[in-house]
């Protein structure tokens, strides 16, 4: 996952960004909306991959932090008279707080135990949201959230999502390549040795969870901008599984793989859904084939194929 900074990558990234700036001018409205949705979902998947791929932790209930981010913005707009923009600033902090609390409880456990405890705790949060009718709107959710005019149109939502996602990706890329990112990977590859050389494993893992939570919260707030609705399903465990799929599908040992995975899932469900109601079966078959033949994910496959410089060192023995 570690990538040397290269001018080529920077140039390429900038080129893609500039290209994307022109999307709303040339594509129909629905495709613009889809792009925005892919950015938000992709950001969520990349944020999960910060702990899943980078840290090797079984973050089974990532959707909770996404939902909390979304609900924070929604409640800020509907229940307070403060500026809605404050909600967008608050969302990552609230998600980080929940991440910290859940992380503190879970981080003592490892692997599947960690994941299942997280599912239980996350489901408790979900149950509170689901039941607290007066505050969260209960299972009906909150709809018709009026985001600021600037970003309420399809195009506005698109540019906002694009800008925020790009910014978050840059920050996350920096984190991955920071000393923290390196120690996090060391912990993943060999926790005992890391412990021995003086890395505080639990603290590193907790920090990783909080960082992932922050960006999940940001992507939750993007969801509100794009859809104008929040509902408890945003923090239900099935969504968490879906995000894990996006990571594995795109390639969880690559930085942008989860983004690609998110794009594949969103497009598949939108366009196959037009022709058949059996799209989950098609998704299932596609997934099976990918696991059988492309175990490193789509992006991982291409990178392994076309890049010689040490990308594949990490995926052995686990």
């Amino acid at each position: 996952m570690i990538k040397k900074f290269s001018w080529k990558a920077l140039f390429l990234g900038l080129a893609v960004f500039v290209l994307l700036l022109f999307v709303p001018r040339y594509l129909p409205r629905f495709q613009v909306y889809l792009f925005a949705l892919i950015f938000a979902t992709g950001l969520l998947a990349v944020s999960l991959n910060m702990v899943l791929g980078l840290g090797g932790m079984y973050q089974f209930h990532h959707a909770v932090f996404y939902g909390i981010g979304a609900y924070t913005v929604a409640l800020f707009i509907t229940k307070t008279s403060l500026s809605p923009w404050l909600g967008f600033i608050a969302a990552p902090f609230v998600s980080a707080l929940f991440s910290l609390v859940i992380g503190l409880i879970c981080v003592r456990l490892s692997k599947l135990y960690f994941g299942m405890l997280q599912i239980s705790l996350g489901s408790l949060v979900w149950a509170v949201v689901f039941r607290w009718y007066s505050f969260t709107g209960g299972d009906d959710g909150i709809h018709g959230i009026s985001v600021p005019d600037l970003i309420s149109s399809t195009g506005g939502a698109y540019y906002f999502s694009l800008a925020v996602t790009a910014l978050c990706l840059v920050i996350m890329f920096r984190i991955v390549n920071s000393p923290f990112g390196r120690s996090f990977q060391a912990v993943r590859d060999n926790p005992e040795r890391s412990e021995a050389v003086g890395i505080n494993v639990k603290r590193i893992q907790l920090t990783g969870m909080v960082i992932a939570g922050i960006f999940a919260g940001v992507s939750g707030s993007l969801f509100v901008v794009i859809e104008g609705s929040v509902f408890p399903e945003l923090m239900f465990w099935t969504l968490s599984l879906e995000i894990i799929i996006m990571c594995l599908l795109g390639g969880w040992f690559t930085f942008l793989g989860p983004m690609l995975g998110a794009a594949i899932i969103v497009l598949l469900r939108t366009f196959v859904g037009i022709y058949t109601e059996y799209w989950t079966m098609i998704l299932g078959i596609v997934l099976m084939l990918l696991i059988l033949f492309l175990p490193q994910g789509v992006l991982g496959f291409f990178q392994e194929k076309f890049e010689t410089d040490g990308m594949k060192t990490i995926r052995e023995e686990k």
């Binding site: 080529k8 390429l12 594509l27 129909p28 409205r29 629905f30 495709q31 909306y33 889809l34 949705l37 689901f130 039941r131 009718y133 209960g138 299972d139 009906d140 959710g141 709809h143 018709g144 859809e227 104008g228 609705s229 509902f231 399903e233 945003l234 690609l260 794009a263 497009l267 469900r269 939108t270 366009f271 859904g273 037009i274 109601e277 799209w279 989950t280 992006l299 291409f302 990178q303 194929k305 076309f306 890049e307």
Partner: protein, 406 residues
């Protein structure tokens, strides 16, 4: 060759995906988009909506359509998920350019689409979601409800229960909006009709609870005179099953909205409990009128099964659409809405009217008790009492209050 290779490959893949079949051309048809749940337990209700809608539109099209245009419809499966359904609704509006949206059975999704339709100025005809917020608190100019809602069910249930001698009640139900809304509605109206009733307690189970035996014994230990069961959809069948297995229906009488519907009773066969009080909008065997018989025959000829309550909703929706456009005189959304407000049509259960104020179709409610009857493979509703639509509708004052307007 390195990286330059895969990026264009992926980009072209994505782009080709994105650009497939952009927007159907606005042809000589009226296009209706249906978003509904065709996967999962709820699909037992929604398939009938779609099939009866098709039956009605086929008939309308065979007669030459509306204003010379045929009705055409497309469906999208939302899997009972709000995000998928909302995305599908946007696709139908933005890409398929539908004139009208229809659906769904998921109340949360319906509220979300209703809000979307208000922004996009597309009429949205709700065909199964029962939240009273749809035409109540959250009602808007573009949303119409083509089915009954929790407020109406509650009022009907209360009217029936008020005539019974029971005083001490227990309330149980699905722990989500639908359950609580039905329970609150029944209880509030019952309290106004009979101030002497007393609530012993309540228990709520999670949606999709598989086994009700523990809840039943817990209720029995409180010794109520009667129980109000506020469960819907997939919960009805196992609850009736558990009450038959424990003899609950014999020891404590209970009322459950939709208990008498065919979707609930047919799977249970002859082992369903007798004497359960329930309300419903429609039975294929009631009312025993020529209109209903003709509809049942058409439906059975087309699909080989008897229509359930969803079929009524789908059927009248198609007919409302046709009549409203004809009255409007052109394919124009605002005129369509003006025409639909206050409109009446004939239906298998008699004349139905859209109340102009809140866009709610005024359904009569049929209250009956389950019983074994010769000639049926399953229990049916008997001693059916019809509570007319105007008596079960929430008052306009209540709706104004919920919306916070004077």
């Amino acid at each position: 060759m390195k990286k330059r290779m895969w990026l264009p490959v992926c980009m072209t893949m994505v782009l080709s995906f994105l650009l497939t079949g952009t927007a159907a051309q606005a042809g000589n048809t009226i296009k209706v988009g249906i978003v509904d749940t065709y996967t999962g337990p709820a699909s037992t209700y929604t398939n009938d909506v779609r099939d009866a809608f098709k039956l009605a539109t086929d008939k309308i099209n065979a007669k030459g359509g509306i204003l010379g245009k045929k009705i055409e419809f497309v469906t999208r499966d939302d899997k009972f998920k709000v995000d998928i359904g909302l995305s599908a609704a946007k696709e139908l509006i933005m890409r398929e350019n539908v004139d009208i949206l229809m659906g769904t059975i998921n109340s949360g999704l319906t509220l979300a689409i209703s809000d979307l339709c208000e922004k996009e100025k597309i009429p949205f005809l709700v065909t199964f979601a029962k939240s009273e917020k749809i035409t109540g608190e959250k009602g808007n100019r573009y949303v119409f409800s083509m089915n009954e809602n929790t407020a109406m069910a509650g009022k009907a249930g209360a009217a029936g229960l008020a005539k019974k001698p029971y005083k001490k009640y227990w309330i149980s139900g699905d722990d989500y909006e639908y359950g609580h809304a039905i329970a609150d509605s029944v209880w509030n109206h019952l309290k106004t009709l009979r101030p002497d009733v007393e609530l012993l307690g309540q228990s709520w189970w999670k949606v999709g609870e598989p086994d009700f035996t523990p809840y039943i014994t817990a209720m029995l230990s409180a010794k109520p005179d009667a129980v109000i069961i506020a469960t819907g959809g997939a919960g009805c069948v196992p609850f009736l099953k558990a009450s038959a297995a424990t003899g609950f229906n014999k020891s404590v009488p209970f009322y459950m909205h939709t208990a008498t519907e065919m979707s609930t009773l047919a799977p249970l066969g002859l082992n369903a409990p007798e004497g359960v009080l329930g309300t419903s909008n429609y039975f294929y065997y009631f009312p025993d009128t020529p209109e209903n018989k003709a509809f049942v025959k058409d439906f059975k000829d087309a699909y080989g099964r008897y229509p359930k309550v969803g079929a009524l909703y789908g059927y009248i929706t198609a007919n409302f659409i046709a009549k409203a456009y004809e009255k409007a005189g052109e394919i124009n959304t605002e005129k369509f809405i003006n025409a639909l407000e206050g409109m009446s049509i004939g239906s298998p259960i008699g004349e139905l009217t859209v109340r102009a104020f809140d866009h709610q179709v005024m359904f009569p409610m049929f209250m009956g008790t389950t019983k074994k009857v010769e000639g049926y493979d399953y229990l049916i509703a008997t001693d059916i009492v019809t509570i007319p639509g105007k008596d079960v509708m929430p008052s306009i004052e209540d709706i104004k209050k919920a919306r916070g307007v004077k």
